[in-house]
Symmetry: C2
Subunit: 337 residues, 2 copies
DNA sequence: TTGTACGCGTTATCAG
DNA sequence: CTGATAACGCGTACAA
């Protein structure tokens, strides 16, 4: 059933049918109803490919993320998909895994599918060496590129992120001010947000004019039990620490397991701060204090910016949100923050 | 840059260019190279919409799920997307939420986008009243429909699931045999798998010829703290229970919080069995014993069946996998299972 | 081995 | 208000 069939049954031309479908042009109420009835009877659906060919869009946005099963990413996907759908766009999802080449390949694949834009979920897409981000800038020459939780300054690239540096510095400063000096900063990846969090951690020490032992900064990409083991070995090497500031909640849970293995009282002897305010926080005991990085707002902002750009209007290249710390059972000194 | 531009630059017709692109027909090695070079120079990408229009496929599969941020669904999405991609298909994701109408609406929307097939993730799509599943049968008249973790017998519908009934019966029987008689079955939804799990629970009592107090079956759809409160109130109402068999890990964590609030020793005084073997299991203490329902196999099977169907070959309407129980710290009587 | 011409189902631009 | 017709870019019979 195509537009010709409908036009024949209605005794009009395809142009009129097309006008009725798209609602815009003026058609007599009588023929409009007739055509609508016939379309309903035959439950006609316009061919999306033909429409795509003519309009050069199928109203789809490419979503690129490392791993959709990650708790943070999966929430982002949920919010983004919902917001896109509300704007009549569909989401093509593509999970790249950790590899750099795969990221490039899958991004190209999305572009080949002629998506209207691409959303990069997660700061792992933004590397420290500018040249390595070149492929993103190139992609932005074809379609708008939205980056969630990362920042890249380039034409047609729009970033929506939370101020990881600031909140990490605030959290770290709060620790220092409350007498916790033996801090450990544990982060998973040399990503944009990882680097920003690290800056915040260092910034707090600088602001307090305290020396910072580089051994207190640990880049570690492991599971919960591996993280626990890692901390046990760090402690065995003689480093003393009574507080862990983690780059994500999973690392924080690892730290919690470490603290329990050491039979520390939490939070009086040992404190832990997670990041992302994920479900990890509420299934352990004590429950995990964590940074709420406003993911839902972030996602909605990202889609709002995208919609603006897609309709030819300008949008800010960077939208930054401030984060909050949610205090639960693994700390007791954020009451006043 | 389209096929005409390329053909002009190469001094050949578009047919030849098309042949080179699709690799199949025989073209002289010389012109083939020339065309390939020109395509590379101009980094030409065939227009996906035009191709879709002609071939009536854009190699996309619709993924429908209630909530991509759910731990179980997000893992399913990851596995499915990966398997689809390996077969050169892209995934359009659509999250419906809990509403029935929304499910119908979004499914229609996917079909309107002319996806090559639809994968329904999660047994919540399959209702007890056949008439309510009608829209799925209708969809299967247009494209193959794959159901993950649910079962619906209908033409062109292919289901990949784990034997929830059997494992739940095994688990329940094991409890009964080890002297745990005061069981509570806690499940979230009247979904296909929910009903199957319940059958298993009841089946174990029937097999042991034990009476089953209906108060021991609790249908409850709440968060972790809500689940804890619910169990506290159930206990306050006078029901005695020392074991919770939960339909998912989140409910199980709620039960764990309840047990801790009651200061029961786990697992000697109180046992808990979760379901899905999700990340929830390893972030609590003691860690949660849980049913591993072989999600990755399930997803791979689903995609394998789909690929078979899409290439015109037959596939089983139902692929059922057996599950395992993974014993961790909340039980101590599955060693021999 | 290569080229011509048509079909795919729309949208949009003209005339009328 | 309506109709004829040209794009849109590709795949592919059929012809050469």
């Amino acid at each position: 059933m195509n537009i010709y069939d409908i036009s024949k049954k209605a005794g009009v031309s395809i142009a009129t049918v097309s006008r009725v479908m798209n609602g815009n042009a003026r058609v007599s109420e009588k023929t409009r109803q007739k055509i609508l009835d016939i379309m309903a009877e035959n439950d006609y659906t316009p061919n999306a490919f033909a429409r795509g060919l003519g309009l050069n869009t199928m109203q789809t946005i490419g979503l690129l993320c490392a791993d959709s099963s990650d708790q943070f990413f999966s929430r982002a996907i949920y919010y983004l998909e919902r917001a896109l759908r509300a704007n009549h766009y569909d989401a093509i999802l593509s999970c790249t895994g950790a590899g750099y080449d795969t990221r490039m390949e899958y991004l190209k694949r999305l572009l080949a599918k002629k998506v209207d834009a691409v959303i990069l979920i997660g700061s792992s897409f933004i590397e420290a060496v500018p040249e390595r981000n070149r492929y993103i800038v190139d992609a932005a020459a074809e379609v708008p590129v939205i980056i969630l939780n990362g920042y890249l300054k380039a034409p047609n690239v729009y970033c929506s992120l939370c101020d990881d540096r600031e909140i990490t510095q605030q959290v770290t400063s709060a620790c220092l001010e409350h007498g916790r000096k033996e801090l450990l900063f544990l982060y998973r990846a040399d990503s944009y947000s990882g680097r920003r969090k690290l800056e915040g951690f260092k910034g707090a020490f600088a602001a307090a004019e305290l020396p910072l032992d580089p051994r207190r900064i640990i880049l570690f990409n492991g599971s919960i039990p591996e993280t626990k083991e890692k901390l046990l070995s760090v402690a065995a090497d003689g480093l003393i620490f009574d507080t862990v500031i983690a780059g994500d909640d999973e690392l924080a849970i690892g730290a919690l397991k470490y603290a329990k293995a050491m039979q520390f009282d939490i939070p009086s002897q040992f404190s832990i701060i997670g990041y992302n305010n994920s479900q990890f926080c509420i299934c352990c005991e004590p429950e995990l204090s964590s940074v709420d990085n406003q993911l839902e707002f972030c996602c909605n902002n990202a889609v709002a910016a995208l919609m603006s750009v897609l309709s030819g209007k300008p949008a800010p290249g960077k939208t930054m949100l401030s984060a909050n710390i949610l205090e639960r059972g693994t700390t007791d000194f954020f009451k006043f923050l």
